[in-house]
């Protein structure tokens, strides 16, 4: 028997591996029980909602369940001309049931998402359907409104037959499936989302750049100043963390408005004329300024934690070996801070593309982001599946950035603190 295959036994004859597992089992169970509450908490508050969001964004069961018989009857309809009587009969039957349950309003809302103009004709149909006679429903329904005789509207109904849909995602990209089943862009003047996505990326990118430019010297100071000054500076950096986000944003509104402190100062030093005060709020500038200030600590802290570990003798070594201060910085100090830069930029960028309250308050029309659109659909239009779709797109965007970062820099080369 070779030595590799020989089993090692403990003194009482049990294989060593078995014995080791037994000895460690207790610790493993203990460790699992310790993390179990957090694990369940995460599953309930994180994994489950995201899963739900994913389902909701593609879910289209509502209409399918409201008009079961109609869709069954429509299965054989080719969509070229008006459907047969049996489709109308099935639709009438489904519709009566909905009226009974008082759910026809929901149907009209849903169908209106697919094609404008359903709301009024469903209302008319409800009133007329009370006087409908048995048989020949096609004629009766078509006589309620001329749109009911339009094949377009029936095609629109048929498009809602599948239980899952990608329409929400297409809509978020300003696209839709047209009558022929092709994916096309909406007319130019009705595109709103693409602009928002691009603007979100643009603002997040520049906010990250601004944060980096400002945080690097601050973090360097923090890491190199004597304790008593660096503590004070650290408090200044962290102070915003201890103040409500809303209060901070509101104070920016006071500072940036046209009759605000900053404008007064500019007028005071003669930089701008009193009757020509620049607008620094309710546009992109407002979003840039406020978001940069609010996200700055997220850049400072990872940078600081990395810089703190860099021995000052490294810079000295660089200089004593003949490097100018710039070369010593660029060749020695800067490469060592890359893990902090990566962490800070990733953190700020990810926070920035999902930022909501600040752009909502100071961004105005040209400074709002995609998250504001998500909030709008959550609260105002109650189109939660659309909001979910956009939320998921945002999430996958973040994951893509994370993946890219991992490819380019390496995720183990990151230091959050």
């Amino acid at each position: 028997m070779s030595s590799e295959t020989k089993q090692i036994l403990t003194t009482d004859g049990i294989p060593l591996e078995v014995s080791l597992k037994k000895a460690e089992r207790k610790n493993k169970i203990k460790a699992f029980l310790l993390v179990a509450p957090l694990l369940f908490f995460l599953i309930i508050t994180y994994v489950f909602p995201i899963g739900d969001m994913l389902l909701r964004s593609v879910d289209d069961k509502m209409v399918t369940q409201m008009l079961p018989k109609t869709f069954k009857a429509m299965e054989n309809w080719d969509g070229q001309e008006l459907p047969e009587e049996e489709v109308f009969a099935a639709f009438h039957e489904d519709f009566l049931k909905l009226v009974e349950e008082k759910r026809e309003g929901k149907l009209s809302t849903q169908l209106n998402y697919t094609k404008n103009g359903f709301k009024s004709i469903i209302k008319k149909l409800r009133r007329a359907s009370k006087k409908f006679e048995e048989g020949n429903y096609k004629e009766q329904i078509m006589s309620v409104h001329k749109r009911w005789a339009d094949v377009e509207y029936w095609r629109a109904i048929k498009r809602r037959a599948p239980e899952v849909t990608n329409q929400k995602y297409l809509k978020a990209m300003d696209m839709y499936t047209n009558e022929e089943g092709k994916i096309v862009s909406v007319e130019e003047d009705r595109r709103i989302h693409r602009v928002l996505w691009l603007r979100t990326l643009e603002i997040a990118f520049f906010v990250t750049v601004f944060c980096f430019l400002m945080a690097y010297p601050i973090a360097h100071l923090l890491a190199t100043l004597p304790m008593k000054y660096s503590n004070l500076l650290m408090i200044c950096v962290l102070l915003p963390f201890w103040t409500s986000l809303l209060v901070r944003t509101a104070s920016w509104m006071i500072l940036l408005q046209q009759q605000g402190v900053v404008n007064d100062f500019f007028v005071g030093i003669g930089l701008v004329a009193d009757d020509n005060r620049p607008e620094m709020m309710y546009n992109k500038t407002g979003s840039y300024v406020a978001m940069t200030q609010i996200l700055l600590p997220f850049m400072v802290l990872p940078l600081y934690s990395v810089m703190k570990t860099i021995s000052p003798s490294l810079m000295r070594a660089g200089k004593s070996l003949g490097g100018t201060p710039f070369i010593a910085f660029w060749k020695v100090y800067f490469p060592l801070t890359i893990p902090g830069i990566g962490a800070g930029c990733l953190l700020v960028f990810i926070l920035a593309i999902g930022y909501y309250i600040t752009p909502a308050l100071v961004g105005g029309a040209s400074g709002t982001l995609i998250s504001n659109q998500i909030a709008f659909h959550m609260k105002s239009t109650l189109d939660w599946s659309f909001a979910s779709a956009m939320g998921l797109m945002l999430l996958s965007g973040v994951l893509v950035i994370y993946w890219l970062y991992n490819k380019i820099v390496g995720i183990d080369n990151i230091k959050l603190g």
């Binding site: 021995s311 000295r316 070996l321 003949g322 060592l336």
Partner: protein, 361 residues
């Protein structure tokens, strides 16, 4: 080419960090070309500050430092061309050994093939051939230290500063590195200024040692002179082991003085006492006192053995002598015939020449 005697010159150099306390006081120091000089002193004595001023990382508050006859206070560190080895090695952790060594050559725009030759030479000097592609993190402490030494020498500086370079190594490695650095110094003849608080390191390696205390050079001399002939009681106590007696000079004549202790009188060599009545501290090296001396000695006294500690090659004997319960003797283990037992009364003698009456401190 004749060697310059004051290759490095500190002239009236003062340094204060806070404007209240002087860390370095009126320093005068000449370092000859090719010399290995050590700044030795307890922490806070100003030795590292002196080194940092020489390297250019601190500026003198007053006075001037000259390097090769030129005042260098206004020259930034990177233009001084001084090699430096730091306490914690300060290797660039993101560069390989090769890149670390290439750094000083690249910034000097030395062509690659010439630089490669220099790097090879420097690595072989510290016997690290074949390590060029390693990262510093993959090397042991001793190897990192050697890389640091090689890096400080690779661009052929005239002066190399070493700031407690061996502090982080274990005892055996430290000793072998001491010899290695000493040999490198001897073979290339570079001027070295070495800072340490370890006296044995200083004694082993240096041509001359400057003992620092309280911002001042207490004594600047060769290792043997420093040990045999300390000029004040700080140096006597800081370097090597030392037995002391506090007393008052009762008579002084013919290069000898009598010192009155609490209940006895000894004869000593007056170094820093001038006249009768001066307070003094008499310093005597342990190996200069003998047990049961056969020769005639002008100090012979009785003491009681309090403690015997076996040290391998020698035995340390603690004796209560003339009211000093901490009197230490070193007895070579070859002299086993002596009757050294706890509690025994023995005779101890020494020459007055070796008992140096210094300042009372």
């Amino acid at each position: 080419m004749s060697k310059q005697k004051d290759f490095v010159k500190f002239e009236n150099v003062d340094k204060s960090y806070d404007g209240k306390v002087l860390v370095v006081k009126n320093l005068q120091l000449d370092i000859a070309e090719g010399e290995f000089i050590t700044m030795l002193g307890p922490s806070g004595s100003g030795k590292t500050t002196c080194l940092m001023m020489l390297a250019g990382f601190e500026t003198p508050t007053n006075g001037e430092i000259y390097l090769g006859g030129k005042a260098i206070s206004s020259i930034p560190p990177h233009k001084r061309g001084i090699g430096m080895v730091f306490q914690n090695y300060a290797l660039f952790p993101h560069m390989t050994v090769y890149e670390n060594l290439a750094f000083p050559l690249r910034v000097r725009k030395i062509p690659k093939d010439e630089a490669d030759k220099k790097i090879d030479k420097a690595l072989s000097m510290v016997s690290l051939q074949g390590f060029a592609s390693r990262m510093p993190g993959q090397l042991s402490g001793g190897q990192q230290q050697r890389v640091a030494v090689a890096r400080s020498l690779v661009f052929d500086p005239q002066l190399v500063l070493m700031d407690e370079p061996l502090g982080a190594l274990d005892k055996n490695l430290r000793e072998s590195m001491q010899y290695e650095i000493k040999h490198i110094h001897e073979s290339i003849g570079v001027t070295v200024v070495y800072v340490t608080h370890d006296q044995s390191e200083a004694l082993t390696m240096s041509n001359r040692i400057a003992v620092f205390n309280d911002g001042k050079v207490q004594q600047l001399s060769s290792p043997d002179e420093l040990y045999e002939k300390p000029v004040n009681s700080f140096v006597a106590e800081f370097i090597g082991e030392n037995n002391t007696f506090n007393g008052e000079v009762s008579d002084i004549s013919d290069g000898k003085c009598k010192v009155k202790l609490a209940n006895a009188e000894i004869i000593a060599n007056p170094i820093s006492v001038k006249s009768k009545g001066d307070r003094t501290k008499v310093s005597l090296r342990p190996e200069r006192a003998l047990i049961n001396p056969k020769d005639k000695m002008d100090n012979i006294h009785n003491g009681k053995i309090e403690e015997v500690i076996y040290h391998g090659d020698h035995t340390r004997v603690r004796i209560n002598l003339l009211g000093n319960p901490e009197f230490i003797l070193k007895v070579p283990n070859s002299s086993a015939n002596l009757d050294i037992k706890l509690g025994n009364e023995i005779k101890i003698g020494w020459n007055s020449q070796d008992a140096r009456a210094l300042d009372p401190k």
